[in-house]
């Protein structure tokens, strides 16, 4: 791959070739940038070939992808707005992954968080907006948190596989949402689109000044940074990683694995629940079936591409936000079907997962070359 060699040439240029100690010291860090970068480049090349088979020029493809995702200020805002919910839903998978758990039910936590946040707002019609928003944040986090904690508890106390249970809980959450929205919580005025009552324009959280991007992006960035600090710079995070590495060893050294699982699951679900709250408070203004837009499922992809690192979730979410932002332009300018974006996501996923095997195996990065 050309990019691969170009990147390694660049890496070689930074590191004086005659100084192997530099590579020894920084080899691992370089790997974390180089390997995903090469995987991404490889995926783009394969996607280019795929598109060429449809008789489209791959260079046009790359140009429109860049233009639609990052080419103009508008494109950037489009990308960031799409990335915002993905950062939070990705944390729902990335945090439990530290414990070796594969949670894929972020969508369910998002829906329950949205419902809880909407209920909080509707229960406080007299409160000032700031208080309502605060209550919505708390309700969203608790709602989503308890939902994923349920999957954690089933695993810890009943031995139920958390991957399956968290996925099935998504459908239960959707059924609860539909039931409440079409029944007890329905706004009688919402005739053909069953919805709850609106939380009110004053309670909406609005956009970051000077942009079109809602505050959800900031919530996401703060949550990702906090998750990173928690996992890599606290004893709690260290304990979680120990338990994730070897659960029996963790028990032997006296770690309370059950408590770790429940706490991490609560935080994970809380992040997705917060994403649901933001969808209500920044975008929809009420709860209805529109909330089940798949952010929770795309979040799984983001978490795996970020190799479950809470900080790496940020650039990956922006990348996938950019791909989806440019997807529209690919449809409009190149006449590609919508599914082509899914094809690209799939190719990237396969490349990144396959590239996992390369870590620690690239000779020159170990300073041997």
């Amino acid at each position: 791959m050309t990019t691969d060699t170009a990147d390694s040439a660049a890496a070689a240029a930074i590191a004086p070739a005659a100084d192997p100690s530099f590579l020894q010291r920084h080899g691992q860090a370089i790997e974390y940038v180089l390997i995903p970068g090469a995987a991404l480049a490889g995926a783009l090349v394969v996607f280019g070939i795929f598109v060429a088979l449809f008789g489209k020029n791959p260079l046009d493809l790359y140009f429109y992808m860049y233009y639609g995702a990052f080419g103009t200020w508008f494109s950037w805002q489009n990308t960031l707005a799409r990335a915002a919910p993905l950062i939070l839903t990705a944390l729902c998978t990335a945090l439990p992954a530290q414990l070796g758990m594969v949670i894929i039910g972020g969508e369910g936590a998002l829906l329950i968080g949205a419902l809880a946040a909407t209920s909080a707002a509707l229960a406080l019609p007299w409160a000032p907006p700031l208080a309502v928003q605060f209550a919505m944040v708390i309700a969203g986090i608790i709602g989503g948190g308890l939902w994923i904690m349920l999957a954690g508890a089933l695993r810890q106390y009943r031995g139920v596989n958390e991957t399956i249970s968290s996925l099935l809980l998504v459908y239960i959450a959707l059924a609860i949402l539909n039931h409440l929205v079409e029944g007890p919580m329905r706004d009688p005025g919402s005739l053909n689109k069953p919805s709850t009552r609106e939380i009110g324009a004053a309670n909406m959280i609005g956009t970051i000044p000077g942009t079109d991007v809602h505050w959800g992006l900031v919530f996401g960035l703060v949550a990702a940074a906090a998750a990173y600090i928690l996992i890599y710079h606290t004893t709690f995070g260290f304990a979680a990683r120990v338990a994730g590495g070897n659960i029996r060893a963790a028990r032997i050294v006296g770690l309370s694995v059950g408590k770790l699982i429940m706490t991490i699951c609560f935080l994970a679900g809380g992040a997705a629940g917060l994403a649901g709250m933001i969808e209500v408070a920044a975008v929809q203004g009420r709860t209805n079936a529109n909330l089940a837009a798949g952010y929770g499922f795309t979040g799984i992809l983001v978490a795996f591409l970020a190799r479950q690192n809470p900080l790496a979730v940020i650039p990956v979410a922006i990348l996938l936000g950019g791909i989806s932002a440019s997807g529209g332009l690919l449809q409009r300018r190149l006449g590609l079907p919508d599914a082509s974006v899914l094809v690209l996501q799939g190719i990237i996923f396969v490349f990144v997962l396959a590239s996992d095997a390369l870590y620690g195996r690239i000779g020159f990065l170990k300073g041997k070359g």
Partner: protein, 369 residues
């Protein structure tokens, strides 16, 4: 140029040089060609709701001076706001057709406020005088076409049992089921319509299950109201049942089993809109109509439709075309025996009470909740 209020005088001022393109073009740089954006919630070849709109878009592509850009599978979240803005900012679109019901509030409203000089034509019929003047919504009385389908179905059934695969028990859907049943009873007073609600707009697996289960219960003519009738039509035809289509003409999927169907006629309406704008007329913000107004139509009869059925259906169709024929004419009772429209009360198509329909008429087997 203020797109929302182009007067005839404006057009004349421009003289002969003022083409359709410039009349529409709110953006001077692209004035030679007017760009119209179409946004679909599903895929545009779904043999259903979205394909009907795509056929309307295709009719516009044939007109000179128009450029049509399309984007499919756009969810009812802020993604549709970004798609609209992307069409405006990157493609120079000045007229937008966001075609899904759930796009309207808050997304279309937000964009219409943000871009007051551009025109937003939303399908669904939700506009009220509180909404921006540059937003408009249009919809069709497709229950008229369902009524005709019902007549044909009533003649074609041998068992007297008709089946209806429906998405959700909301007013629009209930109105179709009721109109279909009333039409069928015109042909066969003993006919019943068994209805199954799948719970959502696009649930192919449940739609197939519902189709099979209806046929197992002795139903021999089926119709539906879901986004993509393809599943129902193909499965019913395979089982030897007859079908009435919905949204578009599905006879290519089941040439022998297809009796007739209730179709949208967007390929007639959209060119009409564009011509109205070019001629300096304002499109009413709330635009409705049925068979007479060429907003809906009935599919050509299939070979299995008897002479008697054709004659009766054509007779009723000509009443729709020539006068304000009333489908919901009292006395009508619901399937629990309660009188919902009293004797002597005519509920014409524009009657607001019909928009709140929450019952199934006598002859329908099923419940709204």
């Amino acid at each position: 140029m203020d797109f929302g209020r182009i007067s005839r005088r404006h057009l004349l001022q421009g003289g002969a040089a003022l083409t359709l393109g410039t009349a529409l073009g709110a953006r001077g740089a692209l004035a030679a060609e007017t760009t119209i954006g179409f946004i679909y919630v599903g895929s545009r070849d779904d043999y259903g709701y979205n394909q009907a709109h795509a056929q309307g878009a295709a009719a516009l592509k044939k007109l000179p001076g128009l450029k049509v850009v399309e984007e499919e599978k756009v969810p009812e979240t802020d993604a549709v706001e970004k798609t609209m803005e992307s069409m405006i900012n990157l493609d120079g679109a000045s007229l937008l057709f966001p075609t899904s019901f759930g796009y309207y509030n808050p997304h279309v409203l937000k964009m219409a406020q943000k871009y007051p000089k551009l025109r937003f034509q939303h399908c669904g019929g939700l506009w009220t005088d509180k909404d921006p003047k540059n937003a408009g919504s249009y919809f069709g009385y497709i229950d008229e076409a369902q009524y005709i389908s019902g007549i044909v179905a009533g003649y074609s059934t041998k068992s007297g049992k008709l089946g209806f695969v429906a998405a959700k028990p909301i007013p629009q859907v209930l109105r179709n089921i009721n109109a279909f049943t009333l039409g069928a009873k015109l042909a066969n007073p003993k006919a019943t319509t068994q209805v199954i609600f799948t719970g959502d707009w696009s649930m192919p697996v449940k739609e197939a299950e519902a189709t099979n289960s209806l046929i197992d219960q002795g139903v021999d003519v089926l119709t539906c109201h879901v986004d993509g009738p393809k599943t129902m039509v193909e499965n019913a035809a395979r089982r030897g049942a007859m079908v009435c289509g919905y949204h578009v003409n599905q006879s290519p999927l089941a040439p022998k089993a297809y009796l007739t169907g209730a179709e949208w006629n967007w390929e007639a309406l959209y060119p009409k809109f564009v011509k109205m704008i070019a001629a300096g007329e304002t499109i009413p913000n709330f635009y409705r109509g049925g068979l007479k107004d060429e907003i809906v139509k009935v599919s050509p009869y299939g070979e299995a439709v008897s002479e008697e059925a054709r004659k009766h259906a054509d007779e009723v169709k000509s009443k729709f075309m020539s006068s304000d024929f009333v489908i919901f004419k009292g006395p009508i009772s619901d399937n629990k025996g309660k009188v919902v429209i009293a004797a002597g009360t005519d509920r014409g198509q524009k009657d607001a009470e019909l928009e709140k329909m929450d019952y199934l008429v006598d002859g329908v087997i099923g419940a709204t909740s």
